[in-house]
Subunit: 257 residues, 2 copies
């Protein structure tokens, strides 16, 4: 039996003012004591960047007169490191990241700041979950927050295997249209990137990244397809990137000849 | 039989002026036609960040009067995307990233911009290799460049399984002290992060990340230990982060109750 309330660390990549973060904080307060440590500005697609060549600042953020959390002048991974190593006196029981505005399925996992915060939490030994609502348009975080609460409660009770985090993607549909929760694997997709070439007022070229996502693997057990089929997708991910299946073939290469 | 010379794309994360990049370019010119597309400034530890919310600039860089390559105002992953999608007319036969100043073994892989460039190349269907010399002090890229040439030639001949890249770490010792090349897996280490708290001239606090690396797994088949034992470490890595081993346990969770 735990003698004290759960301590929940909340982070994100959209910044400390994001609506998805507020929805997550509100829900987590039902489960325990919440500390918010989040980037002071938008940090989408920063991947697992950390700040080593410049210092970080921590600013206390208030909502009205009430203390809300700590804004950090860095990336999501920076926020988690500084929370654990410099702000908090004790390790939290769980880290939740999000709720991200936009999908973090398939190939997008590797670009995701939201997932990165949860990865850093896992590295530091904290059960961690990343939550994303798979839309940018008029996001309604009501159901996403509810499922976040349910999953966080479950992880607080059951834990997660060491070195594993949960990457959760929630379809942007009303609760009654959700078909359930599905354990998935990371899907295979590819960005068909294009660069929009424009000219600035000085007639110099600049390039803006855009593109469309191509789905390579349409299996129903992938995160991408599960969400399209209106399931909440829960994918266990880790940060051992070794491709064990290609070890035997490589070991036959005559590298020492 | 190939009718044309190999086309080699060279990228890094230390920036287009880095000594490790120059050494790699020089070696690659022995194998074919080289295009350099690299960040216009240091981009270490940016992980797999990409730039979506601001435009990118491309600047042609000359060494003396000779065209050297393209400097991009972005991350290593940006460089690879823009090289393939906007600069090059045809897909290169291989992408090499580095030679990084410093180790990219074990947990550092996920923070690495050098590895990120090779990951992005792999995503775009190009056989890709990341090279790192595991020292910051007075780096001598002579042997590292030589082994890079050998491995690149081998990959041009044999290819790499789709979706896999090679992460190569080279010990900073003279060639005669190298004990060979070893196929390894990603090691388990952890940064014992600490934040150095200082005060600026206005007496405001700032935080600087520092720390030491703790080795958790001391097996000789890991990248970290192989390099310590003076082997060149070659690790096949991929970007499917699914932890397949934890799928069965999670599927027993009553998530739809």
């Amino acid at each position: 039996m735990k003698r004290r309330p759960y301590h929940i660390l909340v982070c994100n990549d959209d910044g400390i003012g994001a609506a998805g973060l507020l929805a997550l904080v509100k829900e987590m307060k039902k489960l325990g004591v919440v500390t918010v440590v989040a980037p002071d500005k938008q940090q989408s697609a920063v991947g697992h960047a950390i700040t080593m060549n410049s210092p970080l600042r921590i600013t206390k953020v208030f909502r009205g007169k009430k203390f809300f959390g700590y804004a950090v002048s860095g990336t999501p991974a920076d926020c988690v490191k500084i929370a654990i190593r410099a702000i908090l006196k004790e390790k939290p029981d769980i880290l939740v990241s999000g709720i991200n505005h936009g999908s973090n399925t398939s190939i997008n996992i590797i670009y995701s700041g939201t997932v990165s915060a949860a990865t850093e939490g896992t590295i530091l030994g904290i059960p961690s979950i990343a939550f994303s609502l798979t839309t940018y348009d008029k996001p309604d975080f009501h159901f996403a927050a509810k499922i976040a609460g349910k999953l966080a409660a479950m992880v607080l009770r059951k834990g997660i295997p060491a070195g594993t985090l949960l990457n959760v993607n929630i379809p942007p549909v009303p609760e009654k249209e959700i078909r359930g929760v599905k354990i998935t694997r990371q899907g295979k997709t590819r960005w068909d990137d294009t660069f929009d070439v424009r000219r600035d007022p000085n007639n110099k070229e600049y390039y803006w990244l855009t593109g469309t996502l191509e789905i390579i693997d349409t299996s129903s057990d992938t995160d991408q397809i599960a969400v399209m089929n209106r399931y909440v997708s829960v994918t266990p991910i880790h940060y051992d990137l070794t491709n064990y299946r290609s070890l035997p073939a490589l070991r036959r290469w005559k590298l020492n000849a």
